[in-house]
Amino acid sequence: MKKFKIILLSALCLLLVTQYLFAQPIKNDLLLSLAYFNNNNQTQYLKATAKSKVNGKFQQVANVSIAFYIDDASSKVLLGKATTDHSGNAIMQIKSVASEIWKSSATQNFSVSTQEDKLYNASEANLAIVKAKISLDTLEDKSIVATLLELKDSNWLPIKEVDIRVAVKRMLGELNVAETATYTSDSLGMVTAEFTRDSLPGDSKGNLILIAKLDEHELYGNLTAEMIVPWGIKPLVHSTFNDRSLFARKGLTPIWLELLAYSIILIVWSIIIYLIFQIKKIIKLGV
Protein backbone atom coordinates (compact mmCIF):
# COMPACT_ATOMS: atom_id res chain seq x y z
CA MET A 1 0.00 0.00 0.00
CA LYS A 2 2.80 2.31 0.99
CA LYS A 3 4.73 1.43 -2.15
CA PHE A 4 1.72 2.20 -4.27
CA LYS A 5 1.42 5.59 -2.65
CA ILE A 6 5.02 6.41 -3.45
CA ILE A 7 4.60 5.38 -7.08
CA LEU A 8 1.49 7.45 -7.37
CA LEU A 9 3.19 10.41 -5.80
CA SER A 10 6.24 10.21 -8.02
CA ALA A 11 4.06 9.81 -11.08
CA LEU A 12 2.18 12.91 -10.09
CA CYS A 13 5.44 14.75 -9.61
CA LEU A 14 6.68 13.62 -13.00
CA LEU A 15 3.46 14.80 -14.57
CA LEU A 16 3.80 18.22 -12.99
CA VAL A 17 7.44 18.56 -13.96
CA THR A 18 6.89 17.55 -17.59
CA GLN A 19 4.00 19.90 -17.83
CA TYR A 20 6.18 22.63 -16.56
CA LEU A 21 9.09 21.74 -18.84
CA PHE A 22 7.18 21.42 -22.06
CA ALA A 23 4.66 24.12 -21.46
CA GLN A 24 4.60 26.70 -24.21
CA PRO A 25 4.36 30.33 -23.17
CA ILE A 26 0.78 31.23 -23.94
CA LYS A 27 0.52 33.94 -26.54
CA ASN A 28 -2.24 36.46 -26.41
CA ASP A 29 -4.49 37.43 -29.24
CA LEU A 30 -4.13 40.97 -30.42
CA LEU A 31 -7.30 42.75 -31.37
CA LEU A 32 -6.81 45.34 -34.07
CA SER A 33 -9.32 47.97 -35.05
CA LEU A 34 -9.01 50.40 -37.89
CA ALA A 35 -10.60 53.79 -38.36
CA TYR A 36 -10.53 56.33 -41.17
CA PHE A 37 -10.28 60.07 -40.62
CA ASN A 38 -10.80 62.98 -42.97
CA ASN A 39 -9.98 66.39 -41.55
CA ASN A 40 -11.24 69.42 -43.45
CA ASN A 41 -11.15 67.31 -46.62
CA GLN A 42 -7.41 67.92 -46.65
CA THR A 43 -5.79 65.28 -44.53
CA GLN A 44 -6.85 61.70 -44.70
CA TYR A 45 -5.31 59.20 -42.38
CA LEU A 46 -5.88 55.85 -40.78
CA LYS A 47 -5.72 55.08 -37.12
CA ALA A 48 -5.18 51.55 -35.92
CA THR A 49 -5.70 50.60 -32.29
CA ALA A 50 -4.17 47.49 -30.75
CA LYS A 51 -5.84 45.91 -27.75
CA SER A 52 -5.42 42.68 -25.90
CA LYS A 53 -7.38 40.87 -23.24
CA VAL A 54 -5.52 40.84 -19.94
CA ASN A 55 -7.29 39.21 -16.99
CA GLY A 56 -10.59 39.47 -18.79
CA LYS A 57 -10.21 43.15 -19.55
CA PHE A 58 -9.17 44.79 -22.77
CA GLN A 59 -6.08 46.91 -22.49
CA GLN A 60 -4.29 49.02 -25.05
CA VAL A 61 -1.00 47.59 -26.25
CA ALA A 62 1.93 49.87 -26.95
CA ASN A 63 4.96 49.26 -29.15
CA VAL A 64 3.25 47.01 -31.68
CA SER A 65 4.47 47.40 -35.24
CA ILE A 66 1.49 47.64 -37.56
CA ALA A 67 1.61 47.48 -41.36
CA PHE A 68 -0.99 49.57 -43.21
CA TYR A 69 -2.22 48.56 -46.69
CA ILE A 70 -4.51 50.06 -49.29
CA ASP A 71 -6.25 47.79 -51.83
CA ASP A 72 -5.29 48.34 -55.41
CA ALA A 73 -7.37 46.80 -58.21
CA SER A 74 -5.63 43.50 -57.77
CA SER A 75 -3.21 43.65 -54.88
CA LYS A 76 -2.47 45.23 -51.53
CA VAL A 77 -0.12 48.16 -51.52
CA LEU A 78 1.87 48.93 -48.40
CA LEU A 79 1.20 52.42 -47.09
CA GLY A 80 3.78 52.11 -44.38
CA LYS A 81 4.39 50.78 -40.92
CA ALA A 82 3.88 52.50 -37.60
CA THR A 83 4.29 51.54 -33.97
CA THR A 84 1.54 51.98 -31.43
CA ASP A 85 1.95 54.62 -28.72
CA HIS A 86 1.10 54.35 -25.01
CA SER A 87 -2.63 54.41 -25.76
CA GLY A 88 -2.30 51.65 -28.36
CA ASN A 89 -2.79 53.93 -31.34
CA ALA A 90 -0.80 54.08 -34.56
CA ILE A 91 -1.46 56.60 -37.28
CA MET A 92 -0.75 56.47 -41.03
CA GLN A 93 -1.21 59.11 -43.70
CA ILE A 94 -2.92 57.99 -46.92
CA LYS A 95 -2.67 60.65 -49.53
CA SER A 96 0.99 61.34 -49.69
CA VAL A 97 1.97 57.71 -50.01
CA ALA A 98 -0.54 56.31 -52.43
CA SER A 99 -2.18 59.28 -54.03
CA GLU A 100 -2.74 57.58 -57.38
CA ILE A 101 -4.68 54.68 -55.91
CA TRP A 102 -6.54 57.07 -53.62
CA LYS A 103 -7.71 59.23 -56.47
CA SER A 104 -8.81 56.30 -58.61
CA SER A 105 -11.99 55.35 -56.78
CA ALA A 106 -14.78 56.69 -54.57
CA THR A 107 -14.63 53.65 -52.35
CA GLN A 108 -11.51 52.31 -50.77
CA ASN A 109 -10.49 49.22 -48.86
CA PHE A 110 -7.80 49.29 -46.23
CA SER A 111 -6.23 46.67 -44.06
CA VAL A 112 -3.75 46.48 -41.22
CA SER A 113 -1.78 43.53 -39.97
CA THR A 114 0.74 42.59 -37.36
CA GLN A 115 3.18 39.73 -37.44
CA GLU A 116 3.48 37.06 -34.81
CA ASP A 117 6.02 37.92 -32.15
CA LYS A 118 7.09 36.68 -28.74
CA LEU A 119 3.99 37.95 -26.99
CA TYR A 120 1.21 38.07 -29.52
CA ASN A 121 -0.23 36.09 -32.38
CA ALA A 122 -0.48 37.62 -35.84
CA SER A 123 -3.62 39.66 -36.39
CA GLU A 124 -5.32 41.80 -38.99
CA ALA A 125 -8.28 44.08 -39.58
CA ASN A 126 -10.04 45.49 -42.62
CA LEU A 127 -11.98 48.61 -43.38
CA ALA A 128 -14.03 49.70 -46.34
CA ILE A 129 -15.03 53.36 -46.72
CA VAL A 130 -16.90 55.62 -49.03
CA LYS A 131 -15.23 58.97 -49.53
CA ALA A 132 -17.20 61.76 -47.93
CA LYS A 133 -16.61 65.27 -46.67
CA ILE A 134 -18.10 67.95 -44.47
CA SER A 135 -17.97 71.61 -45.31
CA LEU A 136 -18.76 74.48 -42.97
CA ASP A 137 -20.25 77.84 -43.60
CA THR A 138 -21.72 80.62 -41.46
CA LEU A 139 -24.59 83.03 -41.95
CA GLU A 140 -24.93 86.63 -40.79
CA ASP A 141 -27.05 85.83 -37.71
CA LYS A 142 -24.42 83.56 -36.17
CA SER A 143 -25.92 80.40 -37.51
CA ILE A 144 -23.73 77.64 -38.77
CA VAL A 145 -24.39 75.50 -41.82
CA ALA A 146 -22.61 72.21 -42.22
CA THR A 147 -22.99 70.18 -45.41
CA LEU A 148 -22.27 66.49 -45.65
CA LEU A 149 -21.47 65.07 -49.06
CA GLU A 150 -20.36 61.73 -50.44
CA LEU A 151 -18.50 60.90 -53.62
CA LYS A 152 -20.41 58.86 -56.15
CA ASP A 153 -18.91 58.35 -59.60
CA SER A 154 -16.92 61.59 -59.33
CA ASN A 155 -19.96 63.57 -58.19
CA TRP A 156 -20.42 64.93 -54.66
CA LEU A 157 -23.96 64.05 -53.49
CA PRO A 158 -25.71 65.00 -50.23
CA ILE A 159 -25.96 62.48 -47.38
CA LYS A 160 -29.33 62.46 -45.67
CA GLU A 161 -30.43 61.48 -42.16
CA VAL A 162 -27.05 61.44 -40.52
CA ASP A 163 -26.25 63.05 -37.15
CA ILE A 164 -23.60 65.74 -37.18
CA ARG A 165 -22.08 67.40 -34.16
CA VAL A 166 -21.47 71.14 -34.31
CA ALA A 167 -19.22 72.53 -31.60
CA VAL A 168 -16.56 75.03 -30.62
CA LYS A 169 -13.07 73.64 -30.30
CA ARG A 170 -11.61 74.06 -26.83
CA MET A 171 -8.26 73.25 -25.28
CA LEU A 172 -9.11 69.64 -24.49
CA GLY A 173 -12.72 69.21 -25.57
CA GLU A 174 -15.47 70.42 -27.83
CA LEU A 175 -18.20 72.65 -26.49
CA ASN A 176 -21.60 72.41 -28.21
CA VAL A 177 -22.59 75.64 -29.90
CA ALA A 178 -26.06 75.43 -28.35
CA GLU A 179 -28.03 73.19 -25.98
CA THR A 180 -28.40 70.50 -28.65
CA ALA A 181 -25.35 68.45 -29.35
CA THR A 182 -26.17 66.88 -32.74
CA TYR A 183 -28.22 67.80 -35.80
CA THR A 184 -29.64 65.50 -38.45
CA SER A 185 -28.85 66.28 -42.06
CA ASP A 186 -31.73 67.15 -44.40
CA SER A 187 -32.26 66.15 -48.01
CA LEU A 188 -29.49 68.51 -49.09
CA GLY A 189 -27.13 66.96 -46.59
CA MET A 190 -27.27 70.14 -44.59
CA VAL A 191 -27.68 70.98 -40.92
CA THR A 192 -28.15 74.42 -39.42
CA ALA A 193 -27.11 75.24 -35.88
CA GLU A 194 -27.58 78.44 -33.93
CA PHE A 195 -24.56 79.75 -32.10
CA THR A 196 -25.79 80.66 -28.61
CA ARG A 197 -22.54 80.80 -26.66
CA ASP A 198 -22.49 84.51 -25.99
CA SER A 199 -19.22 86.09 -24.96
CA LEU A 200 -17.30 82.85 -24.99
CA PRO A 201 -13.59 83.55 -24.64
CA GLY A 202 -11.66 82.71 -27.78
CA ASP A 203 -8.00 83.18 -28.67
CA SER A 204 -6.15 86.42 -28.08
CA LYS A 205 -8.09 88.07 -30.95
CA GLY A 206 -11.42 86.68 -29.83
CA ASN A 207 -11.53 84.08 -32.60
CA LEU A 208 -13.23 80.75 -32.11
CA ILE A 209 -12.75 77.55 -34.07
CA LEU A 210 -16.04 75.98 -35.11
CA ILE A 211 -15.99 72.30 -35.76
CA ALA A 212 -18.51 70.01 -37.49
CA LYS A 213 -18.05 66.33 -36.93
CA LEU A 214 -19.31 63.00 -38.04
CA ASP A 215 -18.06 60.42 -35.57
CA GLU A 216 -17.39 56.74 -36.30
CA HIS A 217 -19.76 56.32 -39.19
CA GLU A 218 -19.66 52.81 -40.60
CA LEU A 219 -19.49 53.99 -44.20
CA TYR A 220 -17.82 57.35 -44.07
CA GLY A 221 -15.51 57.04 -41.06
CA ASN A 222 -14.66 60.12 -39.03
CA LEU A 223 -15.14 63.41 -40.79
CA THR A 224 -14.43 66.85 -39.45
CA ALA A 225 -14.48 70.37 -40.78
CA GLU A 226 -13.12 73.40 -39.00
CA MET A 227 -13.63 77.08 -39.47
CA ILE A 228 -12.36 80.15 -37.67
CA VAL A 229 -14.97 82.78 -36.76
CA PRO A 230 -14.59 86.05 -34.83
CA TRP A 231 -17.54 85.31 -32.54
CA GLY A 232 -15.74 85.05 -29.25
CA ILE A 233 -14.36 87.62 -26.87
CA LYS A 234 -10.77 88.20 -25.90
CA PRO A 235 -10.08 86.20 -22.74
CA LEU A 236 -9.79 88.21 -19.56
CA VAL A 237 -6.43 86.94 -18.40
CA HIS A 238 -5.91 87.98 -14.82
CA SER A 239 -2.57 86.90 -13.52
CA THR A 240 -0.84 87.68 -10.24
CA PHE A 241 2.17 85.72 -11.40
CA ASN A 242 4.52 88.70 -11.48
CA ASP A 243 3.09 90.46 -8.43
CA ARG A 244 4.89 90.63 -5.15
CA SER A 245 3.19 88.36 -2.64
CA LEU A 246 3.85 85.92 0.16
CA PHE A 247 3.29 83.05 -2.23
CA ALA A 248 5.37 84.50 -5.08
CA ARG A 249 8.78 83.27 -6.09
CA LYS A 250 12.10 84.31 -4.64
CA GLY A 251 12.75 87.92 -5.55
CA LEU A 252 9.06 88.84 -5.44
CA THR A 253 8.91 89.26 -1.68
CA PRO A 254 6.42 91.93 -0.58
CA ILE A 255 8.17 95.27 -0.12
CA TRP A 256 7.06 95.67 3.51
CA LEU A 257 8.57 92.31 4.38
CA GLU A 258 11.82 93.06 2.60
CA LEU A 259 12.14 96.44 4.27
CA LEU A 260 11.34 95.02 7.68
CA ALA A 261 13.65 92.04 7.38
CA TYR A 262 16.59 93.82 5.83
CA SER A 263 16.47 96.75 8.21
CA ILE A 264 16.44 94.41 11.22
CA ILE A 265 19.27 92.34 9.78
CA LEU A 266 21.24 95.47 8.99
CA ILE A 267 20.87 96.93 12.47
CA VAL A 268 21.69 93.77 14.38
CA TRP A 269 24.57 92.73 12.19
CA SER A 270 26.16 96.15 12.18
CA ILE A 271 26.15 95.90 15.97
CA ILE A 272 27.81 92.49 15.76
CA ILE A 273 30.41 93.78 13.32
CA TYR A 274 30.99 96.83 15.49
CA LEU A 275 31.64 94.56 18.47
CA ILE A 276 34.07 92.45 16.47
CA PHE A 277 35.95 95.66 15.72
CA GLN A 278 35.93 96.35 19.45
CA ILE A 279 37.68 93.03 20.00
CA LYS A 280 40.26 94.09 17.43
CA LYS A 281 40.70 97.30 19.35
CA ILE A 282 41.25 95.36 22.58
CA ILE A 283 43.81 93.17 20.82
CA LYS A 284 45.64 96.23 19.55
CA LEU A 285 45.74 97.72 23.04
CA GLY A 286 47.21 94.52 24.43
CA VAL A 287 50.04 94.07 21.96
Binding site: F37, N39, N40, Q42, T43, Y45, N63, S65, L78, G80, K81, A82, T83, T84, D85, N89, A90, I91, M92, Q93, K95, S96, V97, A167, K169, R170, M171, L172, G173, E174, L175, N176, R197, L200, P201, D203, S204, I209, T224, E226, I228, P235, L236, V237, S239, T240, F241, S245, L246, F247, A248, R249, K250
Partner: protein
Protein backbone atom coordinates in the same frame (compact mmCIF):
# COMPACT_ATOMS: atom_id res chain seq x y z
CA UNK B 1 18.50 56.87 -51.32
CA UNK B 2 19.93 60.04 -49.93
CA UNK B 3 18.78 61.79 -46.85
CA UNK B 4 19.88 65.32 -46.34
CA UNK B 5 20.70 66.62 -42.90
CA UNK B 6 17.42 68.22 -42.11
CA UNK B 7 15.36 65.22 -43.02
CA UNK B 8 17.68 63.04 -41.00
CA UNK B 9 16.84 65.16 -38.01
CA UNK B 10 13.18 64.86 -38.81
CA UNK B 11 13.57 61.14 -39.00
CA UNK B 12 14.95 61.07 -35.51
CA UNK B 13 12.13 63.24 -34.30
CA UNK B 14 9.51 61.06 -35.83
CA UNK B 15 11.16 57.70 -35.80
CA UNK B 16 11.80 57.22 -32.12
CA UNK B 17 8.19 57.49 -31.20
CA UNK B 18 7.34 55.58 -34.32
CA UNK B 19 4.27 57.63 -34.95
CA UNK B 20 3.71 60.78 -36.87
CA UNK B 21 1.71 63.54 -35.41
CA UNK B 22 -0.98 64.73 -37.74
CA UNK B 23 -3.02 67.83 -38.10
CA UNK B 24 -5.81 67.93 -35.59
CA UNK B 25 -3.63 66.49 -32.87
CA UNK B 26 -1.48 69.57 -32.86
CA UNK B 27 -0.57 71.28 -29.65
CA UNK B 28 -3.44 73.22 -28.12
CA UNK B 29 -1.12 75.85 -26.67
CA UNK B 30 0.43 77.27 -29.74
CA UNK B 31 -2.09 79.77 -31.11
CA UNK B 32 -0.70 79.20 -34.59
CA UNK B 33 -1.36 75.50 -34.23
CA UNK B 34 -5.04 76.14 -33.81
CA UNK B 35 -5.21 76.89 -37.47
CA UNK B 36 -5.58 73.93 -39.74
CA UNK B 37 -2.25 72.62 -40.94
CA UNK B 38 -2.08 72.76 -44.70
CA UNK B 39 0.09 70.28 -46.54
CA UNK B 40 3.13 72.07 -47.82
CA UNK B 41 3.56 69.73 -50.71
CA UNK B 42 7.16 69.23 -49.71
CA UNK B 43 7.68 65.56 -49.04
CA UNK B 44 10.24 64.18 -46.64
CA UNK B 45 11.53 60.64 -46.74
CA UNK B 46 11.66 59.04 -43.33
CA UNK B 47 12.99 55.82 -42.02
CA UNK B 48 10.57 54.08 -39.71
CA UNK B 49 11.73 52.04 -36.74
CA UNK B 50 11.30 48.93 -38.80
CA UNK B 51 13.58 50.13 -41.54
CA UNK B 52 10.80 51.01 -43.94
CA UNK B 53 11.14 54.16 -45.99
CA UNK B 54 8.03 56.30 -45.72
CA UNK B 55 7.22 59.59 -47.29
CA UNK B 56 5.48 62.28 -45.30
CA UNK B 57 4.50 65.85 -45.93
CA UNK B 58 6.83 68.14 -44.02
CA UNK B 59 3.93 70.14 -42.64
CA UNK B 60 2.80 67.19 -40.55
CA UNK B 61 6.05 66.77 -38.74
CA UNK B 62 6.38 68.20 -35.33
CA UNK B 63 8.82 67.61 -32.52
CA UNK B 64 8.00 64.61 -30.40
CA UNK B 65 6.93 65.80 -26.93
CA UNK B 66 8.96 63.16 -25.08
CA UNK B 67 12.10 64.41 -26.72
CA UNK B 68 11.64 68.10 -26.20
CA UNK B 69 12.92 68.06 -22.65
CA UNK B 70 11.67 71.26 -21.05
CA UNK B 71 14.06 73.36 -19.11
CA UNK B 72 13.47 73.72 -15.41
CA UNK B 73 12.97 77.43 -16.03
CA UNK B 74 10.17 76.79 -18.54
CA UNK B 75 8.54 74.26 -16.23
CA UNK B 76 8.53 76.86 -13.47
CA UNK B 77 6.91 79.49 -15.68
CA UNK B 78 4.01 77.39 -16.89
CA UNK B 79 1.83 77.82 -19.94
CA UNK B 80 1.05 81.48 -20.72
CA UNK B 81 -2.57 82.54 -20.93
CA UNK B 82 -3.94 79.44 -19.26
CA UNK B 83 -5.59 79.06 -15.86
CA UNK B 84 -6.28 75.43 -15.19
CA UNK B 85 -9.27 74.44 -13.13
CA UNK B 86 -10.98 71.23 -12.13
CA UNK B 87 -14.60 70.56 -11.32
CA UNK B 88 -15.47 67.45 -9.36
CA UNK B 89 -19.10 66.37 -9.60
CA UNK B 90 -19.87 64.66 -6.30
CA UNK B 91 -23.24 63.40 -7.54
CA UNK B 92 -21.43 61.05 -9.89
CA UNK B 93 -18.82 59.58 -7.57
CA UNK B 94 -19.25 55.96 -6.61
CA UNK B 95 -15.88 55.41 -4.90
CA UNK B 96 -14.60 53.20 -7.72
CA UNK B 97 -11.11 54.64 -7.13
CA UNK B 98 -10.14 54.31 -10.78
CA UNK B 99 -8.82 57.88 -10.59
CA UNK B 100 -6.57 56.91 -7.72
CA UNK B 101 -5.30 53.74 -9.37
CA UNK B 102 -4.48 55.44 -12.66
CA UNK B 103 -2.78 58.33 -10.88
CA UNK B 104 -0.70 56.00 -8.75
CA UNK B 105 0.29 53.98 -11.78
CA UNK B 106 1.06 56.97 -13.98
CA UNK B 107 3.25 58.67 -11.39
CA UNK B 108 4.75 55.51 -9.89
CA UNK B 109 3.86 56.55 -6.36
CA UNK B 110 4.91 54.57 -3.30
CA UNK B 111 2.39 51.73 -2.74
CA UNK B 112 1.45 53.10 0.71
CA UNK B 113 0.57 56.51 -0.65
CA UNK B 114 -2.04 58.22 -2.81
CA UNK B 115 -2.12 61.66 -4.32
CA UNK B 116 -5.85 61.36 -4.84
CA UNK B 117 -7.85 60.38 -1.79
CA UNK B 118 -11.49 59.38 -1.53
CA UNK B 119 -13.10 60.70 1.60
CA UNK B 120 -16.41 59.45 2.89
CA UNK B 121 -18.03 62.63 4.13
CA UNK B 122 -21.01 63.15 6.34
CA UNK B 123 -21.21 66.65 7.73
CA UNK B 124 -23.50 65.75 10.61
CA UNK B 125 -25.53 62.82 11.81
CA UNK B 126 -28.67 63.58 9.86
CA UNK B 127 -27.11 64.87 6.68
CA UNK B 128 -26.39 62.58 3.75
CA UNK B 129 -23.09 60.79 3.38
CA UNK B 130 -21.23 61.01 0.08
CA UNK B 131 -17.85 60.30 -1.48
CA UNK B 132 -15.48 63.17 -1.97
CA UNK B 133 -12.35 62.69 -4.07
CA UNK B 134 -9.59 65.16 -3.22
CA UNK B 135 -6.66 66.17 -5.38
CA UNK B 136 -4.24 68.99 -4.83
CA UNK B 137 -6.40 72.12 -4.79
CA UNK B 138 -3.77 74.16 -6.70
CA UNK B 139 -4.76 77.14 -4.58
CA UNK B 140 -4.38 80.64 -5.97
CA UNK B 141 -2.95 81.71 -2.63
CA UNK B 142 -1.21 78.47 -1.72
CA UNK B 143 -0.19 78.22 1.94
CA UNK B 144 2.35 75.53 1.04
CA UNK B 145 4.15 77.85 -1.38
CA UNK B 146 4.13 80.65 1.19
CA UNK B 147 6.21 78.61 3.60
CA UNK B 148 8.67 76.90 1.25
CA UNK B 149 12.12 78.24 2.14
CA UNK B 150 13.82 77.37 -1.16
CA UNK B 151 11.26 77.86 -3.95
CA UNK B 152 11.05 74.10 -4.33
CA UNK B 153 7.28 74.28 -4.55
CA UNK B 154 5.96 77.10 -6.66
CA UNK B 155 2.88 78.58 -8.27
CA UNK B 156 2.99 78.89 -12.06
CA UNK B 157 1.30 81.45 -14.26
CA UNK B 158 -1.19 78.79 -15.41
CA UNK B 159 -2.23 78.28 -11.80
CA UNK B 160 -0.57 74.92 -11.25
CA UNK B 161 1.41 74.35 -8.06
CA UNK B 162 4.34 72.03 -8.70
CA UNK B 163 7.31 70.60 -6.81
CA UNK B 164 10.94 70.62 -7.88
CA UNK B 165 12.25 67.44 -6.28
CA UNK B 166 15.77 68.32 -7.31
CA UNK B 167 15.62 71.33 -5.04
CA UNK B 168 13.36 70.22 -2.16
CA UNK B 169 15.28 69.98 1.11
CA UNK B 170 12.65 67.82 2.78
CA UNK B 171 11.74 70.15 5.66
CA UNK B 172 8.02 69.21 5.33
CA UNK B 173 6.81 72.67 6.31
CA UNK B 174 4.55 72.62 3.23
CA UNK B 175 2.91 69.43 4.53
CA UNK B 176 2.16 71.12 7.83
CA UNK B 177 0.88 74.21 6.06
CA UNK B 178 -1.50 72.45 3.64
CA UNK B 179 -4.98 72.33 5.22
CA UNK B 180 -6.11 69.72 2.68
CA UNK B 181 -3.38 67.21 3.70
CA UNK B 182 -2.59 66.79 0.04
CA UNK B 183 1.13 66.34 0.29
CA UNK B 184 3.03 63.11 0.82
CA UNK B 185 6.67 62.56 1.63
CA UNK B 186 9.00 59.96 0.14
CA UNK B 187 10.16 58.36 3.35
CA UNK B 188 12.27 55.76 1.54
CA UNK B 189 13.87 55.09 -1.81
CA UNK B 190 11.21 54.03 -4.28
CA UNK B 191 11.36 50.72 -6.07
CA UNK B 192 11.07 52.14 -9.60
CA UNK B 193 11.67 50.50 -12.96
CA UNK B 194 15.17 51.34 -14.12
CA UNK B 195 13.97 53.26 -17.16
CA UNK B 196 11.97 55.65 -14.96
CA UNK B 197 14.47 55.87 -12.11
CA UNK B 198 17.25 56.93 -14.46
CA UNK B 199 15.28 59.72 -16.12
CA UNK B 200 16.08 63.25 -15.03
CA UNK B 201 13.38 64.64 -12.75
CA UNK B 202 10.73 66.76 -14.42
CA UNK B 203 8.47 69.08 -12.43
CA UNK B 204 5.71 68.56 -14.98
CA UNK B 205 5.65 64.77 -14.85
CA UNK B 206 6.63 64.73 -11.15
CA UNK B 207 8.74 61.73 -12.00
CA UNK B 208 10.79 60.04 -10.82
CA UNK B 209 9.78 60.71 -7.21
CA UNK B 210 12.88 61.08 -5.06
CA UNK B 211 13.60 59.91 -1.54
CA UNK B 212 13.59 62.67 1.07
CA UNK B 213 11.37 65.01 -0.94
CA UNK B 214 7.69 65.89 -1.02
CA UNK B 215 5.24 64.77 -3.71
CA UNK B 216 1.66 65.59 -4.62
CA UNK B 217 -0.95 65.80 -7.36
CA UNK B 218 0.38 67.94 -10.21
CA UNK B 219 -2.67 68.38 -12.50
CA UNK B 220 -0.64 66.44 -15.12
CA UNK B 221 0.66 69.42 -17.14
CA UNK B 222 2.69 66.99 -19.25
CA UNK B 223 -0.53 65.34 -20.43
CA UNK B 224 -2.16 68.69 -21.05
CA UNK B 225 0.81 69.77 -23.16
CA UNK B 226 0.22 66.67 -25.27
CA UNK B 227 -3.41 67.66 -25.66
CA UNK B 228 -4.62 64.93 -23.35
CA UNK B 229 -6.58 65.00 -20.11
CA UNK B 230 -5.01 64.30 -16.70
CA UNK B 231 -4.96 60.61 -15.83
CA UNK B 232 -7.67 60.79 -13.16
CA UNK B 233 -10.05 62.57 -15.54
CA UNK B 234 -9.75 60.04 -18.33
CA UNK B 235 -9.72 57.07 -15.95
CA UNK B 236 -13.04 57.85 -14.27
CA UNK B 237 -15.82 55.79 -15.88
CA UNK B 238 -18.49 58.04 -14.38
CA UNK B 239 -17.06 61.30 -15.63
CA UNK B 240 -16.70 62.77 -12.14
CA UNK B 241 -13.71 64.95 -13.01
CA UNK B 242 -13.89 67.89 -15.39
CA UNK B 243 -10.69 69.62 -16.37
CA UNK B 244 -10.17 72.79 -18.33
CA UNK B 245 -9.03 76.35 -18.63
CA UNK B 246 -11.05 79.05 -16.88
CA UNK B 247 -9.64 81.69 -19.24
CA UNK B 248 -11.40 79.71 -21.96
CA UNK B 249 -14.43 79.16 -19.70
CA UNK B 250 -14.67 75.46 -20.57
CA UNK B 251 -14.17 72.21 -18.77
CA UNK B 252 -14.38 68.68 -20.10
CA UNK B 253 -14.33 65.14 -18.79
CA UNK B 254 -13.55 63.73 -22.21
CA UNK B 255 -17.11 62.80 -23.11
CA UNK B 256 -18.88 66.02 -22.13
CA UNK B 257 -17.75 69.60 -22.33
CA UNK B 258 -19.39 72.37 -20.34
CA UNK B 259 -19.04 76.06 -19.99
CA UNK B 260 -17.22 76.38 -16.69
CA UNK B 261 -19.14 79.41 -15.45
CA UNK B 262 -22.51 77.91 -16.41
CA UNK B 263 -21.71 74.60 -14.75
CA UNK B 264 -20.80 76.33 -11.49
CA UNK B 265 -23.82 78.60 -11.69
CA UNK B 266 -26.39 75.92 -12.59
CA UNK B 267 -25.15 73.30 -10.16
CA UNK B 268 -24.08 75.63 -7.35
CA UNK B 269 -20.42 74.75 -7.38
CA UNK B 270 -18.28 75.48 -4.34
CA UNK B 271 -14.73 75.08 -3.09
CA UNK B 272 -13.39 73.33 0.01
CA UNK B 273 -12.56 75.40 3.11
CA UNK B 274 -13.36 78.69 1.44
CA UNK B 275 -13.06 80.40 4.82
CA UNK B 276 -9.30 79.79 4.91
CA UNK B 277 -8.77 82.11 1.97
CA UNK B 278 -6.61 79.69 0.01
CA UNK B 279 -8.69 80.14 -3.17
CA UNK B 280 -8.53 76.62 -4.59
CA UNK B 281 -8.63 75.87 -8.33
CA UNK B 282 -10.69 72.75 -7.68
CA UNK B 283 -14.46 73.22 -7.52
CA UNK B 284 -17.03 70.75 -6.28
CA UNK B 285 -20.58 70.22 -7.47
CA UNK B 286 -22.83 69.23 -4.57
CA UNK B 287 -23.91 65.58 -4.26
CA UNK B 288 -27.54 66.20 -5.20
CA UNK B 289 -29.62 63.82 -7.34
CA UNK B 290 -26.90 61.27 -6.93
CA UNK B 291 -26.42 58.60 -9.56
CA UNK B 292 -25.36 56.05 -6.94
CA UNK B 293 -26.24 55.19 -3.38
CA UNK B 294 -23.55 55.73 -0.76
CA UNK B 295 -22.26 52.27 -0.12
CA UNK B 296 -19.01 50.38 0.18
CA UNK B 297 -17.15 48.43 2.77
CA UNK B 298 -14.73 51.17 3.70
CA UNK B 299 -16.94 53.85 5.15
CA UNK B 300 -15.20 53.50 8.47
CA UNK B 301 -13.78 56.99 8.35
CA UNK B 302 -17.09 58.81 8.31
CA UNK B 303 -16.93 61.51 10.92
CA UNK B 304 -19.98 63.28 12.19
Amino acid sequence: MSLDNSSRRDFIAAGILGSIAVAGCSSPFDPAANEVVKPSGEMVKLLSVDGEIIEVDKAFLKPVPELSAMTNQAERMGIPGRKFVMVIDLSRCKNLKKCQASCNHAHQIHPDQNWIKLHPVQESEKTAPYWQPTTCMHCDEPPCVKVCPVDATFKRQDGIVLIDSDRCIGCRFCMAACPYSTRVFNWEELDLPKAIAEKPYSCETSMPQKVGTVGKCDFCPDMVRKGELPHCVSACPNGVFFFGDSNEDSVTNGAETFRFSELLRDKAGYRLMEDLGTKPSVYYLPPVNRNFAFEGEDQGDVKH
